[in-house]
Amino acid sequence: MAASLQGWSQPAEAFENVIIHTADGEVVDGGTIVWRDGIIRSVGPEEEVTIPFDAYVRDGGDSLHVYPGFIDGMALWGSPDTDGPGGTPDEPGNPGYKRAGIQPQRYPSEHLKANDQALEKAAEMGFTTAALGLKGQMLPGQVDLFFIRGKQTPDNLLEEGVGVLAQFKEAKGPAYPSTTMGLMAQFRQLFYDAEALHRQQEYFASVSSSYPAPQKEKELEALYPVMKQKQPFFFVADSKENIERVLWLQDELGFDMVLVSGKEAYTKAQELRRREIPVLAGIDLPEKPDWMSTDDDGKDEKDRDTQPAEVTEEMQHFRERQQQAYKERINNINTLRESGVRVGYSSNGFNTSAIRKNLLILKEESGMNESQLLNILTQSTADILGYGQRLGDLEEGRLANFTVFDNPFTEEKAKGLFSVSNGEVTELDSESSN
C-alpha cells in the first residue's frame, strides 16, 4: 500500500478542535494536529497551526482527546500459542533446541496471527506501536517492532529484531532444562557453543581448503548479535532473585539487556541504574487482598461465610505486612522512576482489557499522575526501543501515531475513537470495545 504511493504526496489529514496531550504532560485545548505521508507536519493550538488546503479535516468538537500512540515494549499479541507439553523426548536430557524452548531465530513477523483479537483490542486501548515477541520458553525468538493496526498489523512491520526475547521458563514437560539452575547453565552453554561455531565459521571463511565445514546451527547464529552486543536481550524476570540471576549472567556473558516485566525490579533499582539497564515494566499488579478492598473504612466488612471474621492480633499483623508488600509492588514503577531507572511499558502477555483498570490503580495508589503514566506508555518506551525521536510524542516530524479518545485515557469510561498508526486512520468500532 505504501509502495504505490511513492512519487507523489498524499493529501494531508488533520484533527481540529481536539485536546492534545503531549508525552511531557502538556495539554493543549482547542488544538490541531496535521499529518501527511505518515509524519506529523504540525501540531499545537489552532492559532499556531495552519491546515493545508488539501487536508482532510475531522472536527473534534472541543471534547476529544488526542494522545501520542501508546507503545508496548514487549507484547505477545498475535503470537501463536506454544505447542502442548510436547510429549516425552527419547532422552529428556537431550531434547533438542526446539523442544528445550531454544528458538531465538524465530521472527514474530513470520508467525504472527493476523486475526488475534488482541491486536484490535490493543488499538482500542490506544496502542499504535508494539514490539512483539512470541510465546515460548527460554528463548522464544526475536522481538519485532510493528505498527499496530488490527488485522493489518502483520503488513506493518517497522523493524525486525529489536531484541532477542529471553526468560526463565523451563522446557515444557519432561525435558532439559527443567529448573532455574538448569536454565542458567543452558544460557551459558549456548553462548559457549555459539562462540565456538562463530569462530569455526570465521576460520572456514578465511581459508580456501583443508578445513572442515562448520555445521549450520541457526539457533546459535541467532545469538551472535547478542554476543557482540549489537542486539539486546529482552530479558523477562520478576522476582528480586531472578533479576539478580540475570545480572550474574550479564556479568559473565556480557550482553546488553532490557529488563522486561520486573515486578520486583524496585528492589534492584540502584543496581539497574548503575548498569543503565532500562525496564519495560509490567502492570500485572498483585490482586488486592479482599480485606483491603472491603473494609477500607473499617466498617462494612462483607461476610462471605456465616461467621464474621474476627480480626485477631496475629491477623492484624499479617494484614499490616501484607499491605506493606502490596504497596511496594504497586509502587514498583514509581520507585524505579524516582531512582533514575528508565522505565517503559510491557504487557508481556497481560490481558489487554485489564490495562485501564490497573492504570487507574497506579494513578490512585502509586503516587504517579496521569502525565507520568502517559510518559511511560509513550516517550519513555520509545526511548528504550531506540525510537525516541520518531515515536512517543506529538511533535512535528514524528511518525503520525496517536489515538483519539472521547475522555482522558485513565478514565474508566474512556473509549478510543480513532487510531492513527503510521499515518493511517482506523475508525475504532466502539461496540467491540466493551
Binding site: 532444562p177 552453554q189 578445513y211 501484607q322
Partner: protein, 468 residues
Amino acid sequence: MKKIVLLFFALLLSPAGYAQEKGSVLISGGTLITITDGNKENTDLLIEDGVITEIGRDLSAPDGVETIDASGKYVMPGIVDAHSHIAAVDVNEWTHPVTAEVTMEESIDPNDINMYWALAGGVTSIHLMHGSANVIGGQNETLKLRYGGDMDELRFEGAPRTIKFALGENPTRVHGQRFNVQPRTRMGVEQIVRDHFDAAFDYQRNRREYLEAREAYEEGARGEAPVPVAKNARMEVLVDILEGDIRVHCHSYRADEIMMLMRVFDDYGIENYTFQHANEAFKVAPELRKNGAYTSVFSDWWAYKFEVYYSTAFNASILNANGVINSINSDSGELIRHLNHEAAKTVHYGGTSKQDALRMITINPAMQLGIDDKVGSIEEGKHGDIAIWSGHPLSIYSMAEATFVDGKKYFDRDKDADDMRLEVNPEEDFEHAGRRWYEEHGRRGGTCLRGAEVRFNEQGMHFRHQTR
C-alpha cells in the same frame, strides 16, 4: 510485641548488605562445649568482628561490645547440617543422568522461613544440596544462615566446592524405569560414572589442545586454523572433580553401591568424598575407614523404600566405633530443627559417647564440607558461629536461646516474634490447609527427590515430573 517485630525487621532489613555485617560479643560464664578441646566450665568466650579471639576466665568486654551472661548455660559451636534442601528454589535438574553443570548456588531461596526455624535449633551452616535424581547431579552450595541476607550474602565464603552424586533406586527409577534411559540398574549407574569421567578426560585434552593451537594460530606460530572445541560447562565441572577441586557427596544406601563407588574413585584417583544417607555404610565400615571416606547419615530413618529396609539406627555408632568420620544430617526442614536430639540418638543406639555425638553435628560435618578450619568447634581464630543452650544440648529439655553467625545474633529466644518472614506475598491467604497430620512424618516429602516428584503416597512411589 508488635513493636519488637517491627524493630527487628527495621534492623534486619533496612540497610542493604546488613546481613554481611559481623558482630562482636562477650559470652561469659557458660560451659563451653569446645568439641575439639573438651568442655570448659564457667568460661568466657570473646568474639570480635565475627571471629573468636579469646577463650578464658574473667575476660572483659572491649568498649561497645555487649556481654551476655551464660552462666548455667551451655555454649556450643553452631550446628552444621551436611545435607539440607531448605532455602532452595529447585532441587533436582533431574532430566539427564549427569547434570554437573547446574549448581545450587543459583537455586538459593534467601526468603525461606525454614532458615530461621533452623537457627532456632542452633544451626548456623547448611550444605544446600542438589537432589538425588541423577547419578552425577548438580553442585551443592554451603551456606551460612545469615537470615535476611540475599543470595550472595548467604554463601559460606571460602567453603570448597562440592557436588552431588546419587546411586541406587532414585536414579534408576527416574531415568531407567520412567524414561528408558540408562541407568536402569546399579550396573548401569557405575558405567554412567565411568563413561562421563572418561569423556571428561578426553574433553580436557581436546579442549587444551585446541586452546593451545588457537593461541599459536593467532600468534602466527601455526599456519593451520584449529577446529574449535567449545567450552562445555558439564565437562568443565567433571574435570574439576577429577582434578580434586570439587568434593563429592554421594547419595547412597546399599553397601554394594558404596563399594562400587569407592572402586571407581580409586581408579580415577578421587580422594575427598562423603557418602550421604549411607544407610548400609555400617556393613562396610572397615572399607570406608581404609579409604578415608566420610559418611553423613540419618539418625534413624529407614524402611521408606526397599534399599533402606535392611538398615539400622545403630549405623552411626558402628561407623564411629570403626573410626569413620560420620555426621548426622537432616535432609529435612523438620529434623534440622532438632539435630541436637538426632545426634543424641547415637547415644541411645549403640552407646556413642556424648562428646562424639556432638562431633557428628559440628566438627565432623565441617570436615566433610571442608570448613573445619573455620567452624565446627570453639577455638580462637574460628568464626563466631555459636549457639547458647539452656541446658546440655543433647537433652530434650534444652533449647537454643540465642544463635550467632559471625558474632552477630540471628536468633534470640527472648525476642523471638511470631512472624519472622522476610518476604510477604501480597496475594497470600491468611488461612490455608496443608497435609494431614499423619502424612507429616518420614520420607513422604522425599525432599531429595523434590522437583523430580517421585512421590511417596498410599500407592507407593510415583513419578511425576515438575510442571509449572
